[in-house]
Symmetry: D2
């Protein structure tokens, strides 16, 4: 029951959308790791709204202030704390939903969970804004992992019914993995960008929203990481993924399609590669067998629901008065949260993979 | 990194398929709970092979011996330990795979993970046999939860491309939820049984295997359980689900379908029910919003891959010699593990829901 | 391996003495608790140097800025983060110990632990300054516990060989418990103040330091809190106490004296009190039996070593060059850290007792 | 709240004194460690009553049956479970204390904690018998640590007012450390044995009991293990030590004596030893500075109260009827539990030190 994840590398997140600041504390990050601050900020900017026209016009700087744990751009080994000040909050926009439960949001469940005391302005602690400190923490982890030859990347696999190409999960290079993140719109196949932007724009004009799927990959993870019952790679990653707002499904490798395959189809045949490493000819197992990494690329797909905040009028309840109520929303929202979620998925993956690596292999 | 799950209610699992015994230790189970031993054994029998002709002919009694924590069928509050002796092991069957990595199994990954020292006979600690103590522990939890008005049930949503009906996630009664578990074949719609048995038999005759999907539901869970970032209901359940062998995908509510919906479709409208409770007219959110229970039925679907052990010859590697090798398997295996997994899914759900409930609401 | 404590109520501490800020994140603090900010600041001031002439002249404001989790002085239930800016750092004072291990300090061990990358200025993360955020967190917990009728207080049991009176552990009133904290010098018997101040002053004039013992008490804790093997009240408290700098011994009830008693002396006889509660006539058990609270006052004593920083020249080593070296210290230090530690001991006690209470009894 | 300790190496204990069996599950023990079974049994025998005339005549075999995790005397890396059957229980002896709270015992507190449902026969889960599985687990850890050049030993520092010699904490050899454990009576100075036996016998004839102090040492632990705030070596060890029945005080290095020293006395001067290692000329810090190991021997002392079970009549209460009651005890008890606790202290030390080592240094 907490806003924290991790065993050896613990990441705590704090903050409310309209509070003083949001931030994170990272405990257990190894000492002596050189941090590239420009690279970190560039990574964080991939999440920032206002940068791409599909996103919400709320401008947030999201520049983190590091309070501890880093000296002259090198980690000390002691807890790293960072905060991001909250600015540019149109509190007025949320006045009319003070006690009306926005459908699809956590207004009602948060009210019950916190006995009505949680800060609801802008979604409070439930706001997608809280992914900013996650991306900060994940950005540090990505840099550490890269120094160990482990790379993580993600792309928009689909928006509504518009699909991107997929990663080649058998032979996934760092270049292919990281290419989408370098673009303005995180896709493999540039041709899919306009198709996706079109469905998003159509939804926006309709005062509605669309969902999407993000595919993520990890390469360079050595075999043997993870444990069966219950510390599987999939279980640890899924636990983190469901902490990202709007995620309703997580699958690994061939995912739900495995239920439609014969064993002879789904089994990935082992062979000895020329460089002496163990590989498989196909990768339906998504790099994980018995919960443990096999050395093949780890791949997963996350399903994001369409953002619940839409412009259409909806019926709901007033959860303080316990009566039916109508609602409309005047705020400014993403018609498709999956787009901005791509770096968040990379960040969460990095935090968890780094934790598992440190747990098993030490520094 | 462990074979344990839970915070307040901790369940540890131990044992190898061909070792002396397998078992579990449950720490944190409340004192004073009356256990119905017959009901517990009946629940465990739903998992036991030899009971249904789709399963493996290996006969296991799987009767647990309780070593501590229960006195005169009432829990003491101290750790409950139970062991299940291993019998009827055809060790000879596994001799020819001593160092050949069975495709789709954890032979290779387990070898790396444990430095070659793990007991591989019968799959060792990775064997699906280890779901027996899970079902024991979950059986106790199911009884406790039922005493609190919370019910959990599951069914075979599909086997290969053969589908069962689905739960009515808006108006799910205990009767409908638990009905499949009372049958020989765990389905809602009896008509689907023969269709499913046919595809399983076809696979068996083909020395192959098929996958499936299990749908699980929870009713009676009060609103307000769970926390955002990261202690969500979905995250906690998914973490446990991926500890069940063969799971490759987990989705909640409308699951991956949410990525294809508009927000206006996916949002579930709140309303005040006649009994004064808060309900939603649809339940795409699967009973969880912002990671917290809403009071509506919690529903999830788990994708099971086809069992990797098949009769067809396959190519692989010898992981001790680091060279290619051929393999066949003479053992006796389930052509569809999803069937026997149904009570396991219920058990794991119960363990986790009970843990979250105890964490937040105490006894 | 972390700067965090707690299971349900988690307190994380971050910061270096000369870094940007120090602070804490408290996760799991119940929602809806009204905080008295004046009382909180008054409690924190008890720790602040510059307030009492026995302490170091370094003036720190130590006023916390709350970043999240509290709205209009009422807790939200979401993580509470607070930071305290660092000012008034005489970095020059520490230049001559850049790589010389100050005896009795963690310079050498910290160097090994963090591979030489930790910030050593002012003691870095090891500085007693890090007790400020602990006192902030503990201050909140003290207020919550008081609202539940549980009170915690401490006093200077001794400084060097000068003793204060002890708490009456059988019949300890809130008034007696809290009285020392209201004074300038935290003692029960005012007469002991001048004796203690004299030995401290003598040490200061001698460029030396003295140690002390702090006695702490908890009243109002209901019986039944804690668990045997290993979650005992003593174990949980001791784990926290040894996180306070300079603690080298912790005992409960009659403490080490029990080793000199006969069983007939040490056993505390139970009886039914007039109000129907269970009490004991003596309290050698210090309110804890079998690791579980009995309802009698919980008492403990912590031994504080004399502050290692002294004005006398000492021999040591240069841990970067691996050679012997001489050192002197020009900094400004407490000749007796036990004095300022009294509110820290109360704070840590409150954090842990509150955690154990929330774990077992919920909100 | 559990009968479990550890982060990476988790040890769970289960069982009641008069239940079916007691035992432990060890999760996280590295694979490939060769276990010397004879040495393990010899270590466990040091705890077994009936072996030395100062102890209780209740004969227990205490031979463990390993259920999993070890194959051909080599650890698999998967959870190691072991059980010890309970025999030779004189249940009749405890009938007259069915609901009378034995002074100094956990009868009353356990009753409250478990709502009256815990098995009280023979002390149930609170019985000192539960130290048997701890000694099993610790025995495995001692062997692992010895393979890494880390040795742990303990001796009876005192029984009542009779003292043994102390360890030389500056220059502690493995031979000196382990010598007491090889004797029938665990002391350094053989001359102290008869003095101690005399006071124990005097107490026994008096139907009374005496307390004692156990001193433990660890050598070979590399510097840099542990973390400040809160994962100190002292905090982690103390947490474990208070899980041993009858412990009421724990101190490290010079312990409570530090409160009587000047800083100039207490500070241990660093110097470069001839072999290039960093040492201190004295060892008041007990091998731990800032919570982190310095490389010098780690020393601690634990105070054990006199066993509460005595033959003298005592007054008490009936906790079910809530009224005063008289009691006598007819059972057979140790007049001094500190004697048998010596191997338990070594075991618990080993479990915790091994956990901290694995956490920081991996395999």
């Amino acid at each position: 029951m907490s806003s924290q994840i991790g065993n050896k590398l613990k990441v705590s997140v704090f903050g409310e959308s309209h509070g003083t600041a949001i931030g994170a504390v990272i405990d257990g990050f190894p000492a002596g790791v050189k941090i590239d601050t420009d690279q970190l900020l560039a990574f964080m900017k991939r999440r920032t709204p206002g940068r791409d026209k599909t996103a919400t016009p709320r401008k947030e700087d999201d520049l983190p202030t590091i309070l501890s744990g880093v000296l002259d751009d090198v980690t000390c080994g002691t807890p790293i704390a960072a905060q991001i000040a909250n600015k540019d909050q149109h509190s007025k926009d949320y006045k009319n939903v003070a006690a009306v439960a926005r459908p699809g949001h956590a207004d009602y469940t948060g009210f019950v969970r916190y006995g009505g005391h949680n800060d609801v302005r802008g979604g409070g602690h439930f706001s997608a804004r809280l992914t900013a400190p996650l991306v900060f923490a994940g950005g540090l982890c990505l840099q550490y992992l890269a120094q160990r030859g482990i790379y993580i990347g993600a792309h928009l696999a689909s928006v509504a019914d518009q699909k991107d190409a997929s990663y080649d999960s058998v032979d996934l290079t760092a270049e292919a993995l990281l290419a989408p993140g370098k673009k303005n719109f995180p896709v493999i196949d540039d041709e899919s960008e306009s198709r996706m932007r079109d469905v998003i724009e159509a939804a926006r004009l309709d005062a509605d929203s669309v969902g999407g799927v993000v595919e993520v990959g990890v390469i360079g993870l050595p075999a043997g990481i993870g444990s069966p019952i219950f510390d599987t790679i999939e279980g640890r990653l899924a636990y983190g993924y469901y902490g990202i707002p709007a995620v309703k499904g997580v699958e690994f490798g061939a995912g739900f399609d495995v239920s439609l395959m014969r064993g002879s189809e789904n089994n990935d045949e082992f062979y000895m590669a020329e460089d002496g490493s163990v590989k498989t000819r196909t990768n339906n197992h998504g790099g994980v067998l018995g919960g443990i990494s096999s050395g093949m690329p780890v791949t997963a797909r996350l399903a994001f629901k369409p953002t619940p905040s839409i412009g259409k009028p909806q019926k709901s309840i007033d959860y303080r008065k316990n009566e039916d109520a109508n609602m409309g929303v005047k705020g400014r929202h993403d018609p498709c949260v999956a787009v901005r979620a791509v770096p968040v998925v990379e960040a969460v993956t990095a935090i968890i993979i780094m934790d598992m690596l440190l747990e098993q292999e030490g520094r």
